[in-house]
């Protein structure tokens, strides 16, 4: 490090990897949002859509109304939660692949809305020039709190009910678990987390467009949870870390980057079908 001080080196290092470090944290939140619905045995692909609502809400509040960030952030979590409450009623009657299809539809409907509501959302050109207000510590504090929260809930009575639902919904229902309340609760919490992640993305990338929160993103979020596993709340976060950092770690491979990236994922899924971290949460005595 010819003549460079440690501080300068650290400064350059942080600059180089700032976006990646932000993305790791935000994707961790998204993975938890996926975990939240999968933990009650639901396959919802609406996470990207909720993330989009959070991102657009946050960006518009900051750009048009100039609200402070500490106010924008909770409002961006609230907006998708309200949407989840409204659509949760009809969609949560569905299960399995039908729920997945209807939640994909939600993402598509919103995409078309963003494109056509040009006066508000900038249409296909998206919103640019969003001030970069999402600090590193804030992202990781939220991620830490979310993991901690899920851990505490997972070890409690609620967690036991959730696991029962995941293994067999009918049995859990017979045992007295209030299925609709749990499902709705999981969906709303998951929407709030995705909304937070969306708002943080918008305020760290300074640009959002309508095509970023579509089917591709939904599948990416799902793959975080699939690769990591859903036994513990930390597992999907690890899945997100791996899938987000892999393309950057493999950058020196140049042309073979995406090939090796895909290969590693295929091998991991083949040999670790329960995820990279297959353990289950220990329960409180």
């Amino acid at each position: 490090m010819d003549g460079m001080t440690m501080a300068e080196w650290l400064d350059d290092f942080l600059f180089t990897y700032e976006t990646l470090i932000h993305a790791l944290g935000v994707h961790g939140l998204l993975a938890l949002s996926m975990y939240c619905v999968m933990a009650v045995g639901q396959l919802s692909l609406g996470q990207a859509a909720f993330m989009g609502i959070g991102a657009y809400t946050g960006a518009l509040l900051t750009l048009n109304l100039g609200l402070p960030f500490w106010l924008v952030l909770p409002l961006s979590a609230l907006a998708p939660a309200v949407v989840a409450l409204v659509i949760g009623g009809p969609t949560l009657r569905l299960s399995g692949v039908y729920l997945a299809i209807s939640t994909i539809a939600l993402g598509e409907v919103l995409r078309v809305l963003y494109i056509n509501a040009e006066w508000l959302t900038g249409g296909a050109l998206g919103l640019s020039g969003i001030p970069r207000k999402a600090d590193l510590w804030l992202i990781y504090l939220l991620l830490f709190l979310a993991v901690l929260g899920f851990w505490a809930v997972g070890r409690s009575k609620i967690g036991r009910a959730m696991e029962a639902m995941r293994e067999d919904e009918a049995v859990a229902g017979v045992m007295g678990v209030n299925l609709p309340v749990y499902k709705m609760g999981a969906l709303v919490v998951s929407a709030m987390l995705a909304g937070l992640a969306g708002c943080l993305t918008a305020h760290s990338n300074s640009f959002i467009g309508p095509n970023e929160f579509g089917f591709e993103m939904a599948v990416t979020i799902l793959s975080f949870a699939l690769l990591g596993g859903i036994g513990t709340p930390i597992a999907p976060v690890i899945g997100a870390l791996v899938l987000t950092s892999l393309p950057e770690i493999l950058r020196p491979l140049q042309d073979f980057r995406l090939v090796i990236n895909g290969l590693i994922i295929v091998v991991a899924v083949l040999f670790l079908p329960r995820g990279v971290i297959p353990f289950r949460l220990r329960r409180a005595p």
């Binding site: 976006t19 296909a124 020039g129 300074s206």
Partner: protein
């Protein structure tokens, strides 16, 4: 399994470290390295590969002719963005933070530039788009330049040619409304059409991945327009053109395309249905002049295929950057920025200078092309 993973990881980490350790101390002395961010993998890789080809060809010619700053070699690190704006930003941060390049060329797409521009501009690193044609690119900040003619400079030339040569008065306008490139191109077309006093009979939209355009085209057929403008990527344009002829819109109604139509792929997909389509281009392979003929032949020799517009723009950009480094007298971003304003270059695209707003100053080099038998020809 975990052993395999760790081995792959170790190999990757190893090459990562050896890469940065081996390269920096030796090369830093005699080499001025600039960075580029292009799409080298994924569905849009053709654009980035062409650009990379143009940049490297120019770099080797410059180095053969003595390099920059009185004998130093010009180096180039090209990073892949895969067409993803997050990866483009990561690449930019790597080039600026680790490789310490004074100049970043690219990224390929306007969307990527909207994400990369604020980052490099904050760090006061000159960033030059060679293919970013959307509105507002150079408004990102004082360090953002572009050598690509924005659509708003090219489209008026095309529309004027249509008006003057074919007496076009009434037009229908079509565009893909779900893609920033297409929408931005349409905005420029509409402004140009209004300025030329053309009557806009209707504006119809479609999605980039649509396959059926009969509803829009049937409506347009009933309006008896003189021409149809279209702003989209080449695949949907090909579909629209094919269906228009199937629905019986006569050949006398010409299509007028934006930058997306300026691709040999149009002829390959739509064949003779695309005949008569007009498009403006900052560069054309058969453009006269010694510089261009030499560029086309060396490019063909080296890569075994014809250069396209993107390769040509990249080729000129590399020369412009090298000249600016020489004028600046140092590989210093601030000085290079000052030097770029003084650019006065005559390359394959024609004479080139920057405006105060860091856009190309003149659209003199624009040629209007017309499709004939599935190939582009210069409209005489």
């Amino acid at each position: 399994m975990s052993r395999l993973l760790s081995r792959v990881g170790a190999a990757a980490l190893g090459s990562l470290m050896s890469g940065s350790l081996l390269v920096s101390p030796v090369m830093a002395q005699q080499t001025v390295t600039v960075g580029a961010i292009e799409i080298l993998s994924g569905p849009s890789a053709a654009y980035g590969t062409a650009i990379k080809g143009g940049l490297e060809l120019a770099m080797d010619e410059i180095n053969a002719a003595g390099g920059v700053l009185g004998g130093k070699k010009l180096g180039l690190i090209v990073e892949d963005s895969a067409g993803n704006k997050d990866q483009a930003v990561n690449a930019a941060r790597k080039l600026v933070g680790r490789d310490k390049v004074p100049v970043v060329i690219g990224p390929t797409l306007s969307n990527e530039m909207f994400a990369v521009g604020p980052v490099t501009n904050d760090r006061k690193v000159v960033t030059i788009g060679t293919s970013t044609t959307a509105k507002g690119i150079t408004e990102i900040g004082p360090f953002i330049f572009r050598t690509a003619l924005p659509e708003s400079d090219v489209v008026p030339v095309t529309l004027k040619a249509a008006k003057d040569k074919f007496g076009v008065k009434t037009i229908a306008m079509m565009y893909a409304n779900d893609d920033a490139f297409s929408k931005s191109g349409f905005d420029s077309m509409k402004a140009a059409a209004e300025q030329l006093g053309l009557t806009i009979a209707t504006i119809e939209t479609f999605g980039s991945k649509d396959a059926d355009f009969s509803a829009q085209l049937t409506k347009i057929k009933g309006l008896n327009v003189d021409a149809i403008t279209i702003s989209a990527l080449v695949e949907p344009i090909s579909g629209v053109v094919l269906q228009a002829r199937q629905l019986g819109i006569p050949d006398s109604v010409r299509f007028i395309g934006g930058n997306g139509a300026n691709s040999p792929k149009l002829g390959e997909i739509a064949g003779t249905a695309a005949d008569g389509l007009l498009v403006g281009s900052p560069w054309f392979i058969a453009k006269k002049g010694e510089t261009n003929e030499k560029f086309v032949s060396t490019f063909k020799q080296r890569y075994g295929k014809d250069p396209d517009q993107f390769a040509a723009q990249a080729y000129d950009t590399m020369y412009i950057v090298a000249k600016a480094i020489d004028t600046a007298g140092a590989a210093d971003s601030d000085k290079i920025r000052e030097a770029l304003y003084k650019t006065d270059f005559n390359g394959v695209m024609g004479p080139f200078t920057f405006t105060e707003g860091r856009d190309p100053a003149s659209n003199e080099g624009v040629v209007v092309l017309s499709m004939k038998n599935g190939r582009f020809e210069i409209l005489e």
